[in-house]
Assembly symmetry: C2
Homo-oligomer: 207 residues x 2
Amino acid sequence: MTVRFVTGNGGKVREAREYLESVGEEVEQVAYDYAEIQSDDLAEIAARGAQEAFEALGGDEPVVVDDTGLFVDALDGFPGPYSAYVEHTVGVERVWHLVEPEENRRARFRSVIAYADGEREAQSASEGTSGEGTEPRVKTFEGAVRGRIVAPRGEGGFGYDPIFEHDGETLAEMSTEEKNAISHRGRALAKFADWLADEPAERKGPR
Amino acid sequence: MTVRFVTGNGGKVREAREYLESVGEEVEQVAYDYAEIQSDDLAEIAARGAQEAFEALGGDEPVVVDDTGLFVDALDGFPGPYSAYVEHTVGVERVWHLVEPEENRRARFRSVIAYADGEREAQSASEGTSGEGTEPRVKTFEGAVRGRIVAPRGEGGFGYDPIFEHDGETLAEMSTEEKNAISHRGRALAKFADWLADEPAERKGPR
């Protein structure tokens, strides 16, 4: 079976292949700019995105999207779902300064993989008014890494990596191998691969 | 004619009535939880919300939504479209501390009113795949107030009012009359009322 990963980031596709090819799934990269809704709930954002992409792209093959955010305990989860926006406006250095006065500097990196396919489910009576009556089946899988916010250190990585410390090192100080070993997206992909492996066999045969 | 204002906030409805009744429009409050998309563009967020609400609610009467944000120059517009989320997580005091080290403390409060009605327009070929071929007509109207970010002062208002100074006073120090006189939402509503007043007369007759 082939899964379509909707992303502009080839690195994410390569990471997905590492987890999914071992359970017999191929991963194809697809470019499509789905809408992300505003929500505190990363899984809801990803689920709605996967559903929209599946419906807009057409075709039978399942669709996968991902969403990732840095959630700082003392800031009630900020920047959370808006991590990319905050990185490009406020900047990582200022996020550190927001956390600096706090005693509790704990944070989590969270990734959600959302999967949508054509095994359509009956739409609940309370939802929507599109008149279609059914919508794609959507499943979400989450991975997280715990750490704490520190003054920027390290030359590697990107985004919030220099201010996120896990086990004594910032993500920007780790080698690619070290980072992959604790990858939040990897953990979400591993759960997703487990679920796919348990899916009924007929989904993997010829259609 | 009646315009349906989709909001949980009765104060916004009262403000809209002040501007719209003088051009012969009634304003009805409607509760509906439309999706707000993630975007740097306040007008795009409001336009998509109005379109979704109009389609989901059914009926003929036009629909109006509004979106408001505080845009800080030195933070590249942050918190902007996510002002409510940032108020509830980071908090207004910390937003002040983010701006405090900056020489340029200029900011704008911006409001967008988005209007959708059933005067359907042909959908451009590049957009959407819903197969409907048309979508509601959507218009947006913006109002803005310039000011600067200061240490919190004043007991009135809500949200960012204590840290937004205009003409020597923070919004939290102003009387309701003073605030209304410089209201960003009022300025957007005034533009909207002007546009409605110029709409063809047949839209205002009995349907």
